[in-house]
């Protein structure tokens, strides 16, 4: 009687089960390929009118034209600049205020009602006001991105700080450290990975507020290009703009994920 050793079979659909890395990565690529294939099929067979969905080819051609003429680089440059400055302003303010709110009940009580009030106000609605207050230059664009991100970011940073275990703070007191030393050496150090993740998420929101910021009173930028193309129903330009924003958003996300792994290798080994 011989028993044939049963080969361990990888099952794809186990609850929370692990699957080979190849399959995991391959599936993601395949899905994007499938999406593009569907697009290609729908447009090339002229199932849908090019006004609703331009052929993939047209978007590609538009990309080449804009790249050659330099419009693309101008737009990307202007938009990246606005996002960077707008987000840095929001972060420069959200960081200290969020840290104060997370550590001291007084500052939480002082700021939270106001922040909660403003964060439910739609950033788009501030466009006319910001033009009135700040004019039509880049400052107004920074302001819209700031309004869109700051009020969420400050609360997220407060939470990052509050998530530092209380016992970790208390044990530090028993080493004879002062509260300021603990704040610097323990609380901030422990909250940093969470704060870094908040940066990653909020800069993503900054990208979504870009179009809002470039909605009116802009003459360069990815959002502006989309809004202008809308006027002439140039769907290929609209889609190109959207795709470029998507890719740039993905790149910033990747940047923060990669630096996270470099900065906090001790977080990776968890589990």
């Amino acid at each position: 009687m011989t028993t044939t050793p049963r080969r361990p079979r990888t099952r794809l659909f186990e609850l929370r089960g692990d699957i080979p890395r190849r399959v995991y990565a391959g599936a993601g690529v395949a899905f994007i390929a499938l999406f593009l294939a569907a697009w290609l099929l729908l447009t090339e067979l002229q199932v849908v009118s090019p006004i609703f969905l331009p052929p993939l080819r047209a978007v590609g051609e538009e990309l080449i034209i804009q790249a050659q003429e330099g419009i693309l680089w101008q737009d990307v440059g202007a938009s990246v600049y606005r996002i960077t400055v707008g987000w840095l302003l929001a972060t420069a303010l959200a960081l200290p205020i969020g840290i104060l709110m997370g550590n001291f009940r007084f500052f939480e009580g002082l700021f939270e009602p106001f922040v909660d009030l403003v964060r439910y106000m739609p950033a788009v609605a501030f466009v006319p006001l910001t033009i009135l207050w700040l004019g039509v230059g880049d400052t107004q664009k920074f302001a819209i991105i700031f309004i869109g991100t700051f009020f969420q970011e400050v609360l997220m940073i407060m939470d990052n700080v509050k998530n530092v275990p209380r016992d970790m703070i208390q044990v530090s007191y028993t080493f004879g450290m002062s509260k300021w030393e603990i704040l610097w050496h323990v609380v901030l150090r422990a909250a940093l990975p969470g704060i870094w993740d908040t940066f990653r998420i909020t800069i993503g929101w900054a990208w979504t507020y870009l179009v809002v910021a470039e909605l009116v009173a802009a003459n360069v930028g990815l959002g502006y290009r989309i809004m202008r193309a809308q006027r002439f129903l140039e769907t290929d330009k609209i889609i190109l703009g959207i795709l470029v924003i998507g890719v740039l958003g993905l790149l910033t996300d990747y940047f923060f994920k990669a630096t996270y792994n470099r900065l906090f290798p001790w977080m990776q080994e968890t589990r």
């Binding site: 208390q170 007191y173 028993t174 004879g176 150090r189």
Partner: protein
């Protein structure tokens, strides 16, 4: 047994004195509740004392008050005759939860406790090496907490609490989160460490066997509001070892005695 207690008290000086201490919690709504009522106890120098009692009796609260991390409603807590005023490096603390700093290696976690010691680098290195050896973690100096098992992490926490030579050690169910086997090994380790160092210890646990194995004396607390119900001298010979001591007939008698007292209180608490 009584004779022995008498001599202990005559020859030894009080390290920690808890005098008529009350703890009252006032919830936002409703009436004030007494967590501790008029509680007094003494831990003599170089003595290992445990505090046992039914859950919710306030034993951990008392420990936190002794650490200076929880305000005292009434009464006084003295260390070496001086009234305590907040947390300080004269009392080392080990918590049940993991309080290691995940961004620091094992040796840097231990060294962190020496930040305020004013010792030079070489002296610090020596102390760190000694204490890593004391808890048997040679070879793991450069590991991060996330790479260690639960038992190893608590060993680092114990080393870290001992390294700055506190007057005494306060331990709040340090092995409470560990599995049964690890717990047993940790009890043996603590027994060895204590027999070598003779640091004064106040140890909170709900594990009666653990308390008897380790302690010179045990205080049994009543159900909430917590008071001292009984004080039992553990007249088992030292040096002890887990296997030898726990198979002693006297161990079984003491166990029965303590368990009976706790069961009475636990029953009362359930009503």
């Amino acid at each position: 047994m009584t004779a022995m207690t008498a001599t202990t008290q005559m020859t030894q000086t009080a390290k920690l004195q808890v005098n008529d201490v009350w703890k009252t919690f006032t919830p936002k709504k409703g009436q004030a509740v007494d967590a501790l009522q008029d509680l007094s106890l003494t831990v003599n120098a170089n003595e290992f004392v445990s505090l046992v009692g039914p859950s919710g009796c306030g034993k951990s609260t008392l420990l936190m008050m002794a650490a200076g991390l929880e305000p005292i409603s009434e009464g006084r807590i003295l260390i070496d005759g001086r009234e305590i005023d907040g947390p300080g490096p004269d009392r080392g603390m080990v918590f049940q939860s993991y309080t290691l700093f995940p961004w620091l290696t094992v040796e840097d976690n231990i060294r962190f406790a020496l930040k305020k010691s004013g010792l030079g680098r070489t002296q610090q290195d020596e102390l760190v090496t000694d204490h890593i050896r004391l808890v048997g973690l040679e070879g793991f100096e450069r590991s991060h907490p996330n790479q260690l098992s639960g038992g190893m992490r608590q060993r680092v926490a114990i080393a870290r609490a001992l390294v700055y030579r506190p007057e005494m050690l306060l331990m709040d169910e340090p092995f409470g989160a560990l599995d049964a086997q690890t717990r047993m090994l940790m009890q043996e380790l603590l027994l060895q460490v204590w027999q070598a160092e003779r640091t004064t210890v106040l140890f909170v646990t709900h594990d009666v066997e653990e308390a008897i194995l380790l302690s010179d004396r045990i205080y049994v607390m009543t159900a909430r509001p917590g008071r001292i119900k009984a004080e039992i001298a553990i007249d088992l010979p030292r040096p002890r070892s887990l296997l030898e001591t726990e198979s002693d007939v006297r161990f079984a008698e003491l166990r029965r005695q303590v368990l009976t007292l706790i069961r009475e209180e636990a029953r009362r608490a359930m009503r």
